[in-house]
Symmetry: C2
Subunit: 428 residues, 2 copies
């Protein structure tokens, strides 16, 4: 039955049943966590050969002693790995430290303080702003918020960001200087940008402020769950549109090897890389080349990137299936929420009925199931619909996930029914 078809008395009875069930679960004092997109221990085990892989041979091809200082843009063999992940030429890649977020932070900083490729530093504009496809990745938004860069919500549909709206904003406001994109298995919606979306994004450089940059965070470039989904090349599209300078691409091995000790990559045109290096050269003598060498050896001596990611998929698939089954069996056909069926990435994005997300998260928390805070997937933590919840199935063991999802579905029902009851009472 659709929730809208239920009468007040039907809803009241339903609420009673659900409440009783909920109170019973609260007695169990669960302590489960499906908040962040962290790999599980089983996934991390796949890369445990990293430590010790060098067997005392710390020299990279070409003779570089990776133990010593130097090499601002990273080892060639590490840059090749990044080039492979992003499908770009090695010359266009810098291999950095353990975090692509850090590379993005410094890229925003470069645009903000110094300007890319000779363009006006963003801080000299009156009101520099980023477009933020929503729901999106909270840490992207935090970077803008910290630097006082404005943010404008852009809804994401099945093809990616609403491009009509993106183009409208850019035409109307010359101080839009960036857009955050997670183009493949988007965090959290799981959407992969379509050919048309990528093409239209590539054309933005023709109408935007010349300092405008697309932050192409390809965090899930190789993170398929089984069925391979192809992302159109933003590099090729910008080259065709003579806008190659408008894109900065990012990737990392964080969800490939060990999450906290991987290698991150940024790829861009020569002029952009030069701007990034100018900022970097005041900040560091170079990245951890030893760890870069470990990664390069791992993907030549122990496994291929493709085989390795297949092993991740085998671990992750049952967890995604578990989430989707719970949602389908518990909520389908009742108009209690909407969700995507992602083919990869780390999340299932769930939209409650408008105005219910906070209530669901609170109920789940009270019942011992930690969820990403409602609103976290929006700039300033404000979901105008109070609707989006990001489910991260990767970290907990399957059994715990199963329990957590049962609680989640119950909380969605309970919050929805209570809201509906309240609404009908107010109307009546």
């Amino acid at each position: 039955m659709q929730i809208e078809s239920a009468s007040i008395s039907q809803l009241a009875e339903w609420e009673k049943e659900l409440s009783t069930h909920y109170e019973r679960i609260r007695q169990h004092e669960l302590n489960l966590d499906i908040t962040r997109g962290k790999p599980s221990a089983e996934q991390l085990n796949l890369s445990d050969k990293l430590d010790g892989i060098l067997s005392g041979d710390y020299r990279a091809a070409g003779g570089t002693d990776t133990r010593n200082y130097g090499g601002l843009i990273g080892l060639t063999c590490a840059r090749e790995l990044g080039a492979d992940m992003l499908q770009v030429p090695t010359e266009e890649v810098i291999a950095g430290g353990n975090s692509s977020l850090t590379l993005m932070y410094h890229a925003v900083l470069t645009g903000y303080l110094f300007g890319f490729a000779g363009n006006t530093p963003w801080r000299e504009l009156k009101a520099p702003k980023f477009l933020c496809p929503v729901p999106g990745y909270d840490r992207h938004f935090t970077i803008c918020e910290q630097l006082g860069i404005g943010m404008i919500n852009i809804p994401v549909n099945a093809q990616g960001p609403d491009m009509d709206l993106v183009e409208k904003h850019i035409r109307e406001d010359n101080e839009i200087i960036g857009i955050w994109c997670v183009p493949k298995y988007s965090n959290p919606t799981g959407v992969t940008y379509s050919e048309e979306t990528v093409e239209r994004l590539a054309q933005l450089g023709q109408i935007a402020n010349p300092g405008f940059r697309i932050f192409w965070d390809n965090a899930y470039a190789v993170h398929d769950l089984g069925h391979y989904v192809s992302l159109p090349s933003i590099r090729a599209a910008t080259l065709e549109n003579d806008t190659a300078d408008s894109v900065l691409q990012f990737a990392s091995t964080s969800k490939v090897t060990h999450a906290g000790s991987g290698v991150a990559f940024v790829s861009a045109t020569g002029d952009n890389l030069k701007s990034l290096q100018q900022q970097m050269q005041a900040m560091t003598i170079g990245p951890d080349k030893v760890n870069q060498l470990r990664h390069s050896r791992f993907f030549t001596e122990c496994t291929s990137l493709k085989d390795h990611m297949r092993k991740h998929a085998d671990i992750l698939r049952p967890k995604f299936d578990c989430v989707l089954e719970h949602l389908h069996n518990g909520l389908a056909g009742m108009n209690l929420g909407q969700w995507e069926k992602p083919q990869g990435g780390y999340f299932v994005s769930f939209n409650t009925r408008p105005g219910c997300a906070k209530a669901v998260v609170n109920l789940a928390t009270e019942a011992g199931v930690k969820l990403t805070p409602a609103g976290a997937t929006f700039p300033y933590g404000k979901d105008p619909e109070d609707s989006n919840i990001r489910i991260a199935p990767s970290f907990p063991p399957l059994e715990e996930l199963d329990t957590a999802m049962a609680v989640f579905v119950l909380c969605v029902k309970l919050a929805s029914v209570r809201q509906r009851l309240k609404h009908l009472h107010q109307k009546g």
Copy 2:
């Protein structure tokens, strides 16, 4: 004979001899490098057990899985290592990535963009400035230069920076918001700050802008060459003077284990650490904890910090001796330059006769011996006396260093004699 006592004809003859010698050396087409303070391969070998030390056990004490995300301030066991190096409580230490320079950059950025502990961000001042003891570390100055922070030279004497001058500037200019200090075996002079200097520095917080911070880069905290030199505690001194917030201390294992893949530390009061964490939390999910664990295990299972540094000293001492012997045997008593005899650190600082440093560096370069560019040890690369040259003996094998120093001494003589001749001709 002192150079001033020589007649024109004596000098001319001397110049001829030296030139002949120099031309003969040029024929050898040397390719030697005593520019940067890099550890030698022999030193790096001391820590080669790092890779593989975990033997598959990636869990830190307390059960933290170091492979995964998280832990912004670093592992406790790594923070303990930093606390040991800086002689401060563990609670006051953040353990970061592979570079203390990066921590310093972000600390300056924190002061500049956001302000420390609620104080005015430096960028909101009209003309924020750092005091820069000179000669000093070029990379400190580059950070200020990149952010447009002004720099004022402060001469360094045998006790540290000229404190009369430091206090005078701070009393006269409320927009002095920092001072760069390498307090032990200073880069490049080798000077260790005296008790009085540390005490007077600790009192600056009482008269300076409340946002003023001492950047205490204790890069050579444990880098004694044999004879242990004690540095008075800046922490203790500021606690006594009620100025504890005025200091940020830095250290790293870069010249302890592997230079490019060590662990860096910052230590400060709770309010300062809070400001640093606010900046960091937008930039990273956490440092490379796997590498932090490696370092912690290395200094418990393989060696102690003290024993390990003794091995470094045994490798470095003959190199410092070589430099000092060449300077003494070639230049003593002739008024051709001045130098220190450091008890630790990575450099020997040499002052030519005023106006000769560039000429010496050029002559040496032409003869195949690379030296740190003249002026590099001063803000904006400008040595007002054109006198200071930083000699870095650590990297080349002893035999190469021996050759390089012979060339260096020859170039000092040649440049000095030519300058003196020119001077006398102009006068005459």
